[in-house]
Symmetry: C2
């Protein structure tokens, strides 16, 4: 596992850590991680990334090499000697974490994760937690739209080469499959996360032979009925005709360019006329949910979609604004709910829970309340997943998370899941939370 | 180093590898990595990511665990036994690589990197090479725009929490500094790549104290003249007034919200009236190059800019279309230049070099030609960086790369570097390349 390490953080987390240890070592903080505003075209998010976040918290240590290096950082020179001698070597995350399950649907302002820990512990982990959870959540949310557009046809995640580095590629593959993609082409992600693995062939294979049909024959000779032939390197229609004439029986052909509606129709007709009714058509080439919806509604005879950039980089909303905000602190037994009042960035105080109220299996609205709002009806979304820095249960396997996502998405009204102009579920603020927000300190 | 590993690839690279080894083991391929089309608002790219690409190629191995797992992959079941028994265990990258230096300026269709190797070797590495080089190049290119907009004021890379995972955060910090950012807040990136490291304080620090001024005092008590105080948690103007009254002398204040032009003016006036002329003003809060240009042109008294999402996710163009295309193959001593003719995706055949023609230190135009175009005038951009799988020189340090980027960017006419409606340098095709493209096989 390439887990983030203790130094995968912003410098100010370390200076604040040193500060908390020096001036307020007995302070406990509660932070909540949420998204303040959903990007355009999004009415909901599919939460993901919790597995990596909990592994990171459990394994968090400063190595002696890291500490030796930190001693040389000018910005940390004013930190007390005990910070380097005692605090960092003994550092562990010993806090409590509540979170929604991966695959759960959340809306703006709803906590995805809540951390309660000593101030220094809760502060250090902000950067890594936000990066991990926000990224996988944004990929899962985008993938769920693409999968919906495909209307039951399999979507394969093909975006590794466009991802922001190879770790990002693996995490994108995982999040995409969690949210409904049928498979990925990323080998390491398939190995690590037990994802279905699929592949086709590249243009280079075709170009490496003197004749396209030679390239198809060589590949089919080796991979037999499993072969997927890429037929658009030179002339798609001619390639389809020639592979039929040559008596090849690929499991599928892939088309990566051109007008996919007309080309897929022509190719389908050629394959069918040649007796290759079982040969499927996979299309790819910079597809997003809108292009896929159009292909589906036009009746193009496409059996599955390979989707890259738009999922793995979340191209239309690559920087989902996940934040991690202090909502409560406790010092000497005194609990203080906290808020930030910065222009346009107001936060809600207190430890929160979210309840989803449904009727006949359809979600009606959410209530964002305080954890002590025990009278709330509906299903509470956050559960305790870590105590004293230890996970309470092993990570569920991906199949269980996929099923969770499928069920949660299935509860949403079509107004929420529409590709165009979707409307979020209403999130009501409980009377107790509303009262606390109005009375909060510093107002 | 978290280098990508052999399985950080697409499945089809492995099936094609098995195919090449089975049917054409003596084939040598040359691939070129380039960007087909620049995103909107971009007229040039700043190349980056080569260091990690070469480290990856040098260290590439299949472990016995990985091979054991690959034997269980159904899609690879048809591969010959020798593939698992001999090819994978003995696999090394033993090819030759030509590349432009990191920090070099390149345009569409110009090779950033060229790989010549046995077909299986050259093919396997496509996914990782494209991901690494495209991502760092897209960050460096974006960062160079942001730095230009800041017109000499320092830009600090603050985007780790928005990056697509923590490896992505580190690579973004590196690429941003390479292209002109003055520092990063990412601790691990600073350690690994020797980048200047800076930090401020978070809203949570302020919120964790009963009173904002207590929070400022505690932090200043520890960090003295180095302290940077974040003053927008509740009321920015009041915070500035109170820190002056309290006699604090922070090195800087940070403002993260509000109308930055008017607020920075008011804060500057308060600091100056209080004798804090040396206290700088740092602004942040979802800034991009256009907002920064506006702040600069409005004369806002801002000393430096903290920039996050727009650099670390390359928000306006997160999926730069880097491709890796077969341009030549050699079998039994016969060399064949290759092209792809797919609709809208035509490629140029042959091993290429790019020459930049300049006059009086200003770039006039580029020539894309064949390596054998030795008569070309101008500076050739690609040099040989790896032979027989070994780097020819150790990686230069980041300061040298920054200086390279600064010089290369400095050669560009303002029409190319303009923030709005920039125009790329003309890239001419050499007569020999043009003739080869017209005559290329399969036309």
């Amino acid at each position: 596992m390439d887990l983030p390490r203790a130094l995968d953080t912003d410098l100010y987390q370390l200076t604040m850590m040193a500060g908390y240890e020096a001036v307020a070592p007995g302070t406990t903080c509660t932070f909540e991680l949420f998204v303040r505003e959903l990007p355009p075209e999004r009415a909901f998010l599919v939460a993901a990334g919790l597995h990596q976040a909990l592994d990171y918290l459990e394994s968090l240590r400063f190595t002696s090499d890291e500490i030796a290096w930190l001693r040389t950082v000018p910005a940390l020179a004013p930190a007390p000697a005990t910070f380097f001698d005692t605090v960092l070597p003994n550092f562990r995350f010993r806090g409590e974490v509540w979170a929604v399950d991966e695959g759960e649907v959340v809306f703006a302002h709803e906590p995805i994760l809540r951390v309660t820990a000593r101030a220094a512990e809760a502060q250090l982990v902000e950067t890594a937690l936000v990066a991990m959870i926000t990224f996988e959540t944004s990929v899962a949310s985008k993938a769920s739209r693409v999968v919906k557009a495909a209307a039951g046809r399999p979507v394969i995640e093909f975006g590794s080469r466009r991802a922001h580095g190879l770790e990002s590629a693996r995490l994108a593959a995982r999040a995409a499959c969690l949210a409904g993609c049928s498979a990925t082409s990323n080998v390491e992600a398939a190995r690590r996360y037990s994802l279905p693995l699929v592949g086709t062939m590249a243009h280079s294979w075709v170009m490496a032979f003197d004749d396209e049909i030679e390239a198809f024959r060589a590949y089919s000779g080796l991979f037999g009925a499993q072969a997927v032939l890429l037929i658009d390197t030179y002339d798609t229609i001619a390639a389809a005709e020639r592979l039929v004439e040559a008596g090849l029986t690929p499991s599928a052909v892939r088309i990566d360019s051109g007008d996919l509606v007309t080309v897929s129709r022509s190719v389908r007709a050629i394959l069918d006329a040649g007796g290759l009714r079982a040969t499927r058509i996979i299309v790819s080439g910079d597809l997003d949910e809108h292009q896929i919806a159009q292909l589906v509604s036009s009746g193009a005879p496409v059996d599955s979609f390979g989707v890259g950039t738009s999922i793995s980089t979340v191209r239309d909303a690559p920087g989902l604004g996940g934040v991690y905000k202090l909502v409560e602190m406790e010092r000497h037994g005194r609990i203080t709910p906290t808020v930030k009042l910065s222009a346009g960035k107001r936060t809600l105080p207190g430890r929160k829970q979210v309840w989803r109220v449904a009727e006949n299996g359809q979600a009606l609205y959410d209530v964002i309340g305080l954890t002590e709002d025990t009278e709330q009806k509906g299903r509470p979304l956050l559960t305790c997943v870590m105590r004293h820095g230890q996970r309470l249960a092993p990570a569920p396997d991906l199949a269980a998370l996929q099923e969770n996502a499928r069920q949660r998405l299935g509860e949403l009204p079509t107004s929420v899941t529409a590709l165009d102009e979707p409307v979020p579920l209403t999130a009501r603020i409980s009377p107790a939370l509303d009262a606390l927000a109005r009375s909060a300190h510093h107002l």
